[in-house]
Symmetry: C2
Subunit: 274 residues, 2 copies
Amino acid sequence: MHPGARNLDDDCAVLKVGEETLVITHDMMVEGIHYLPGQDPADVAWKLVTVNLSDLASKGARPLGVLLGYMFGMDDARFVEGLHEALDHYGASLLGGDTVAGTGTQALGLTAIGKASYVPVPSRGTARSGDALYVTGPLGAAMLGFEALKAGSGDSLAFRRPHARLDEGIALAPHVSAIMDISDGLLLDALRLANASDVTLAIDSAAVPIAAPEDRRDEALRWGDDYELLFTAPAGISLPIPATQIGTAAPRADAPVLLDNQRLTNADELGFRH
Amino acid sequence: MHPGARNLDDDCAVLKVGEETLVITHDMMVEGIHYLPGQDPADVAWKLVTVNLSDLASKGARPLGVLLGYMFGMDDARFVEGLHEALDHYGASLLGGDTVAGTGTQALGLTAIGKASYVPVPSRGTARSGDALYVTGPLGAAMLGFEALKAGSGDSLAFRRPHARLDEGIALAPHVSAIMDISDGLLLDALRLANASDVTLAIDSAAVPIAAPEDRRDEALRWGDDYELLFTAPAGISLPIPATQIGTAAPRADAPVLLDNQRLTNADELGFRH
């Protein structure tokens, strides 16, 4: 997008409506980029819902409903099945949407609308120097699940049916200084939080909980799709849910992220885009 | 979609939020179906906004903002230019959205959020037998504009830069018994309104205002993209804006639409899908 257009990928929209505050997000998924051609359409639907509700989770919002933009091109009945499984799971309704004929690569869109549970709605741009940096759970499970799916054997559930941390986001909203979900890998998303907040995040790689063998720690820190929450909070405060401290926020230095005191600057090396 | 899934194309979502009522819609546009490959991206953006805001217009809603789902694949700066022209024109904001890489046919999505100006929000499903049937303006201008664009000469503005009838929708909302926008052709959209309301609409073709030569009247009744409003109201009431009566609603007979007393039943013959 050209200079002057806001970065559409950054954050949810926050909309004040009367006395209420809504949080609204729209994410697309494209065949071959965000899901594998031939993947179970029910899993694709589940992930489309989760990706969007994970954005709401990072804002401490309770989902109200979704609108679907659906391009025909897979087993539609199976897609609808997974869609309703996901919506039932999260307690959200299908409010509306659009269906279109597709001639090429399939593209899907979902808009999720939620109600803020806490105001001001937390942001990724308000971490303060001195804050502690936390993650809500282990990383790397989706990486292993993806490999199992590609291999056709092993447990692929974590990749196919990820969970949006809605309860965790609601519990954390009053306590965090900054928060976002980890969709593209811890290091890449930490860089985004650091840049948005104008701090440097110093991460201790050994402290990061991983759901993968130790020799794959480095990959687990760069793989996305786990949808854990990454957040900062004033050092030493008591948190309402279990979370692991993995680093600290420092005054902004030349690099946005320090991993074990190594400067990380190149976004392309920090996470997967898939 | 399989039985049990609601028809996503039918209508906007109406969402009560505290004391306010929101109207939300999501429409997609696909290259080669909804716009021509090589068409000016600024015009594509304008139309994407208009198509969605026209849905809000039919609900008497004032636009608050939009979320964009954008797949790269055209001159992005030019698209953003047209997007902002349209949003400025209609007084709506770009709230957020998503951008994705595209490898095949380009697909775009837009979610528009509006605030209902009148409650209950009017619907297409509540026309009553005995009502008069109206249209807000002439049909066929987009057809001629499309032909001019394809030919590379003549005035294509009506096709490239259609207008959502927001003011008209807001003025009409308290007075209509049923209303929708004409996006796919008068006859096809009349059939939808008739089916949703369980009435038969008797249309007098000669009464329909057209913006095309008389020998193309039949085509003008089947061509879409003009975005005029089609509505019913109790016979004889005074309307707040100029509109032309083109027929009446009768008790449901075997055909949903009678055109000059001819039964029209086959949706495929009634309008263009493009």
